[in-house]
Amino acid sequence: MRSPIQWRFPGNWAIFRMDDRLLLMLIGTIVGICSGLAALALNTGLIFMLKWVHHWSSHWWAFVFPALGACMSSLFLEKIVKEGAGHGVPEVIYSVSRYGGLLRLRSGFSRIISSCLTIGSGGSAGPEAPVVMSGAAIGSNIARYFALNDRQRIILVGCGAAGAISSIFNAPIAGMVFAAEVILGEWSAVNIIPIAIASVAGTEISRTLQGNQVIFSHQVFSIDIGDILASVGLAALAAAASILLTHWLRAMQKISPRIIHIFWLRAAAGGAAVGMIGLWMPVVLGEGYDRVVQMIGGNFPGGLMFVAIACIAKILATSLTLGWGGSGGIFAPCLVIGSAVGLTYHRALTLILPSVTWVNEGCFALLGMAGLISGMLQAPLTGIFLIVEITGGYNVILPLIIVSAITTTICYYIEPASYYLKDLVDRGHLLRPGTDARVLSDIKVHELIEKDCISVSQSMPLRDFIKIVEKSTRNFFPVEDEKTGHFAGMVHLDDIRPYLFNPMMYDAVLVGQIMNPDVETVSPEDDLTEVLQKMDAQKLFSMPVVLNNRFVGMISKATLLDKYRKELMVQTSV
């Protein structure tokens, strides 16, 4: 009766049963290639759309393009693939936290198409988060096809994210670090090896099909101690920009549905607003990589005020695009805003201290990018490695580390959760591996129910009850209604103590008279966290579990501790 087609289950092959690292390395390579191809598909689509839109971009009515793009993007997500708006990274982290990395197959392509429509038409967003979603969904569904377990599936989700980031930025280390730091939230040798291989596969796909080029190449900067000290101030400014972007994005997400109820009209309105800003300040349109190249190269036009206004305009445009229903990520806007912040800071320094010789403003643009990425993602390593790789700027590593570290710290104090994690933290859905919440979430109430309780009826005389107590090893006894079988209350051994030494009372007292009818109960549906809160609040060590008015069993802290320990060992074992 067993299916003879074993090729579908390589996890059962003898060679992989010896060590599943080999299996994960093999499948991780496949996932890295597929997610790399997905990233290239989005890149190609964006280039095609941007070229097409560019023909008309000088007309006054060009503001309708971002409106149309955002509108089509939201309609595609809501009506065709029936997924909500957003870039998807929180969804990936949520799935990894709670459901072993299970993601829908449609997520493998949905965000690529929707973000292509939004960004390609001029919306201010980035393609990186959508390809992370796509790569992660590819990893998850390949794991599903090969019938892998939760732990293996989570690693392949990480492989997909790493392959996508590596491919789109031609940055293998950044991809690897992003997957471990942001998506999985843990570092272990078992995770890192397949993720590293997927990163290599994704990068190699990008290099083979697009060529090996540093995205934001620049001149060599000569940095002295003064520049390093000045970078502390830049970190503070980058943190302020990060907080501003985070708050405006959230504010737009809250306000926009109240102003316009129809989702596609809302997205179109946001897109039109971005288009109008773009008529006046084109730097805000699209992913903005060409502007970043200008800024790092020290060729960005205008003075201090112009670049400061461009920075604010880009923050506003990104908030309007993503907060009003467009699709895309915040990586690319962070790079543009960060480099604008760096330029603003440099120009201000030059104005205030004209006698000091500062490094080229392109260096500060580069440091600003690292600051924004680190501040928004609160992932300093991702910020550092990404900027080093996409700019080839290892010579700026010292101020880069300082800016990333300080920006992350300041942002953490003001907004403890990163942009990606804020919603999950607010809803209590962020469950990182090995944490108390994660262990508890994997244990269900029905797994802890102790069924060796003897139920008694309300009309049972104390004499009969004492005989039952003699046979039982428990201190609690559930009482049920004889007619309906409904749970009526509990009797604790302490409740019969006053009558125990008075045999006269044995036939005079009934169980119904000594039971406690006001007992706090739990349902098998309840979350264990809620059950524990109830126990702590009432200072209880055990509670009855009741379903449909019927006693099901008892749940106790002792059983929970035992199960908790086992679950923790499973989750933290390699």
Binding site: M1, K82, G84, Y94, R98, R104, R144, R427, L547, N548
Partner: protein, 274 residues
């Protein structure tokens, strides 16, 4: 542990009939209905190795202000304490996650299409996905309230059919109703008996099955007339072969397209409790 049946309530006359079928099933089998009144047209079910997005048709959100009262009324009349499921987790703000640790689930034949389109012979893709991914059997209720007085297990010899037979024994034990077996023979009858023996179910079949009809002549469609109109039909879905994840299996497809009875479908991931 008291078994629980998951029911998605549709606040329409069709939904009432479906809930009545669920409630009757619970009364017969000792299960407890857990009712979900949707507030969004889509939700996710995270199974062991698959996530299924269910896109409900708009009628599921009809008159939300009366939905809970209507469901409560039906449950109370039939002796059940109303138990409603409120989603605790959300993948996105309008995309709730529905737990999958139930013992049964009741579905109409399609939950994505408008009820006017649902008819015999059509099972929607989401329902197929749920049957394929779930550890629990799925009750495909008939379009009208249809109480049943016996249980019929279709036994074609596949592993899912063996699971369906084990489930039939469990239902008989819980309900006390007579259990019959039907086999549309493609091989000699002895082959099926040997199969039952090899699964160590021979004694149970002899003791618990009232009648085992092995139909050697006539087509399946013709022979289905023999199935009592007031029986709960239990069968396995998804047969053998490369496309087993796409179609129910040829026999199951025919049975569901011809029989108007309530059907209890056992999918490939069902773990039988015997």
């Amino acid at each position: 542990m008291i078994p629980r049946l998951f029911h998605i309530f549709r606040n329409t006359p069709l939904g009432r009939e479906t809930l009545l079928n669920s409630v009757y099933f619970c009364q017969q089998t000792g299960a407890v209905p857990v009712v979900y009144i949707p507030e969004h047209t889509k939700f996710l079910m995270y199974f062991e190795n698959e996530v299924v997005q269910v896109d409900l048709d708009a009628s599921y959100l009809t008159s939300p202000e009366t939905a809970k009262n209507h469901a409560t009324e039906i449950l109370l009349i039939n002796g059940f304490e109303p138990t409603f499921l409120g989603p605790k987790h959300f993948t996105a703000s309008t995309l709730p996650d529905i737990p999958t640790d139930f013992d049964f689930m009741c579905c109409p034949r399609s939950i994505t299409d408008l009820s006017s389109k649902i008819g015999m012979g059509y099972i929607g893709p989401r329902v197929r996905n749920i049957v394929n991914a779930a550890r629990f059997p799925v009750l495909l209720s008939s379009t009208g309230y249809k109480p049943w007085k016996s249980i019929v297990v279709f036994f074609g010899g596949s592993s899912n059919a063996v699971n369906a037979l084990k489930l039939g024994f469990r239902l008989k034990r819980n309900s006390g109703l007579p259990l019959d077996m039907f086999t549309q023979a493609e091989k000699k009858p002895q082959v099926y008996r040997e199969l039952v023996k090899s699964q160590q179910l021979e004694e149970d079949v002899n003791k618990r099955v009232r009648d085992w009809k092995v139909l050697e002549s006539g087509s399946l469609e013709e022979n289905l007339y023999e199935v009592p109109h007031d029986a709960l039909v239990v069968m396995g879905a998804f047969g053998h072969g490369l496309i087993k994840n796409l179609v129910f299996g040829s026999k199951a497809e025919k049975i569901q397209s011809v029989l108007p009875n309530n059907l209890l479908i056992v999918g490939p991931r069902y773990s039988a409790v015997h």
